[in-house]
């Protein structure tokens, strides 16, 4: 490896780490802002001695700096503290709920790619036509609709009126269809818009004209020549959107009573379970930073110029 590469990668890692550290500190602050947790656990009528004992047990009587360092140590060793309402380790509860949210995110993202990319390519190859206008407006519509409302209307249509699909809960693949469809709307729109922009840039390059002049079929020019070059921004957005979806699943999971991370977060917030809220926020931030790192790595694999 060249020295410049090492320096660039090192700088990138350092700035990612700094962002992570600030995000973690903000999450810590957010936890502290919640007021005295002993009042939540013991109720407002509890005698002061009992509260004092609990504060000692939770480590809340230590100086804030010590608490903060303990918290950081915990984060980097995978210990995100204890929930106040469930008396369980937050890490294990997140691990229990994560598969459900992953199912939802995975299915939603797959659907978004399957529809979004062809839609974007369609718009870019017929730029300026009614096809383009239709596809672009449809994509913008996907970014304008409140997703949970779209989910509610799907429930009305397919569960209440037609009775084809279940309205909520999880279990069979049938239960996954409506929530996944709802999840896919926003990333689908985002991917379609980005594919259109990226493809239309790629199609304007001189090498496309030269490929066409050599008599290569339009389909091959579009997919092999233009699309492979337009892929990088799309790949980036797919990875980053996945991170956003993981934490953005709250409203969708609420509509369908889907037992994922989003539901857990809502419960934690309703019961003022600040360690659990904090743990989920931290988890979200960790995932986001790791995915950012993944994007950088993918960049250097797909695009040899970056290496």
């Amino acid at each position: 490896m060249k020295a410049s590469t090492v320096r660039r990668v090192g700088g990138r890692l350092a700035s990612l780490f700094a962002s992570l550290l600030i995000a973690l500190s903000l999450a810590f602050l957010l936890g502290r802002l919640s007021g005295d947790p002993t009042a939540t656990i013991l109720g407002p009528m509890a005698p002061p001695e009992q509260r004092e004992a609990l504060r000692h047990e939770l480590g809340l009587d230590l100086p804030v700096v010590v608490q903060y360092l303990d918290y950081l140590k915990g984060v980097f060793t995978g210990d995100l503290g204890q929930s106040l309402q469930f008396y369980q380790s937050n890490t294990s509860m997140i691990a229990d709920r994560l598969p459900f949210t992953l199912q939802l995110v995975g299915a939603g993202m797959a659907l978004a790619l399957l529809v979004g990319i062809p839609l974007g390519v369609l718009a870019a190859t017929r730029e300026g036509t009614w096809w383009d206008r239709g596809a672009s407006t449809l994509a913008l519509l996907g970014q304008s609709v409140p997703v949970f409302w779209f989910g509610m209307m799907l429930v009305v249509l397919f569960a209440v009126k037609l009775g084809w699909l279940p309205a909520g809960q999880s279990g069979s693949p049938k239960h996954l269809i409506l929530p996944a469809l709802t999840m896919s709307v926003y990333p689908m729109a985002h991917i379609a818009r980005l594919t259109r922009a990226s493809m239309s840039d790629a199609l304007a390059e001189p090498y496309i004209d030269s490929a066409r002049a050599r008599g290569i079929s339009t389909r091959r020019v579009v997919w092999r020549h233009a699309f492979t070059n337009a892929m990088m921004p799309i790949l980036t957005i797919v990875v980053l959107q996945t991170g956003i979806l993981l934490s953005g699943a709250v409203a969708v999971e609420y509509v369908y009573s889907w037992p994922g991370l989003g539901q857990l977060a809502l419960q934690a917030i309703q019961f003022r379970d600040f360690p659990l809220v904090q743990a989920i926020v931290v988890f979200g931030a960790l995932v986001f930073v790791l995915l950012n790192l993944l994007v950088d790595v993918l960049h250097s694999i797909v695009d040899p110029r970056v290496r």
Partner: protein
């Protein structure tokens, strides 16, 4: 850029577009802004006309469907809720709050976002490094969870809602403004101003900021759409606008329990949000294209 152009309304002030394209962009901006303006005026003026049905409870007329469905009547054009309250009346007053939240929510995000972006882009160096790391950290936090956590702590009120909207929006605005400032700062006229000994605040606020006006207005427009969507999601989860106040998002929340019996309670506010945000986004895109010479050529 001449002084007379600077004094023009930032929405319509062209940097120097080819004439035809500029006019076309302006027409589309006009046709997108018109329905938005009509809606805004309507929700504020309609309640004053006395044309709206009385909003009180009527337990003999609960969950009436809208007028165009069988069983509905023109006494309640959009139907009634579970207490027999007229939904059109609610819809209009909720629309008022939704629009106000969208506008104020965009302003509170744009203000600090633009300022920080300007500083980072102009001064570079450690100022830029600190602000950039803050932007990345903000974007790394799962914003909906942060929003929920703040609201769960501080309670639901309009000031808290605006704080949340500012927190969710400033980073994107700052990033775009920073990039635009960095491009302008290298332009000849800025180099000239610096050589002529103009003070830095003067360069930043009197010369660079006006050049960014178009981009900022476009960003702000898009931010209105974001603010309305974020508000509706928070209100839907019961953490944004709460009774006795009413927004389209909180109407959706009250309609969720009634989906199987009275789907229209949730249908119309959601449709209204979708159309409003779509128009706002189209307008923002048109403005952005109008002010981005790279895109305008197409």
């Amino acid at each position: 850029m001449s002084m007379s152009q600077l004094e023009l309304d930032p929405v319509t002030a062209p940097v120097s577009p080819p004439r035809r394209a500029g006019r076309r962009a302006r027409t589309s901006v006009f046709w997108l802004a018109l329905p938005l303006a009509v809606t805004a005026v309507a929700v504020f003026v309609l309640p004053l006309t006395g044309l709206l049905p009385d909003g009180g409870q009527d337990l003999d007329a609960t969950r009436r469907p809208p007028a165009f469905l069988s069983g509905g009547s023109w006494a309640h054009p959009l139907g009634t809720d579970k207490l027999g309250q007229d939904l059109l009346t609610q819809f209009v007053s909720a629309g008022r709050l939704t629009i106000v939240i969208g506008l104020v929510g965009a302003l509170v995000a744009i203000g600090p976002g633009t300022l920080l972006g300007l500083l980072a882009g102009y001064f570079r160096g450690w100022v830029d490094r600190v602000i950039s790391i803050l932007i990345d950290a903000q974007l790394a936090l799962p914003f909906i969870l942060v929003a929920l956590a703040i609201i769960a702590n501080r309670g639901s009120s309009l000031p808290v809602l605006f704080l949340v909207l500012a927190l969710t929006g400033w980073a994107v605005c700052a990033r775009v403004t920073r990039a635009a400032t960095m491009a302008i700062r290298e332009r000849q006229f800025v180099v000239g101003l610096r050589a002529a000994g103009a003070s830095e605040p003067r360069i930043v606020f009197r010369h660079i900021l006006p050049n960014l006006a178009g981009t900022i207005v476009a960003l702000g427009t898009l931010q209105v759409g974001t603010a309305i969507l974020v508000e509706s999601a928070l209100s839907f989860l019961g953490l944004g606008v709460v009774p006795p106040m009413n927004s389209w998002g909180s109407m959706l929340a009250s309609g969720q329990d009634e989906l199987s019996q009275a789907w229209w309670i949730a249908f119309f506010p959601g449709l209204a949000i979708t159309v409003l945000v779509l128009l706002v986004n189209l307008l923002g895109d048109a403005l952005l294209t109008h002010h981005d010479p790279r895109k305008r050529r197409r």
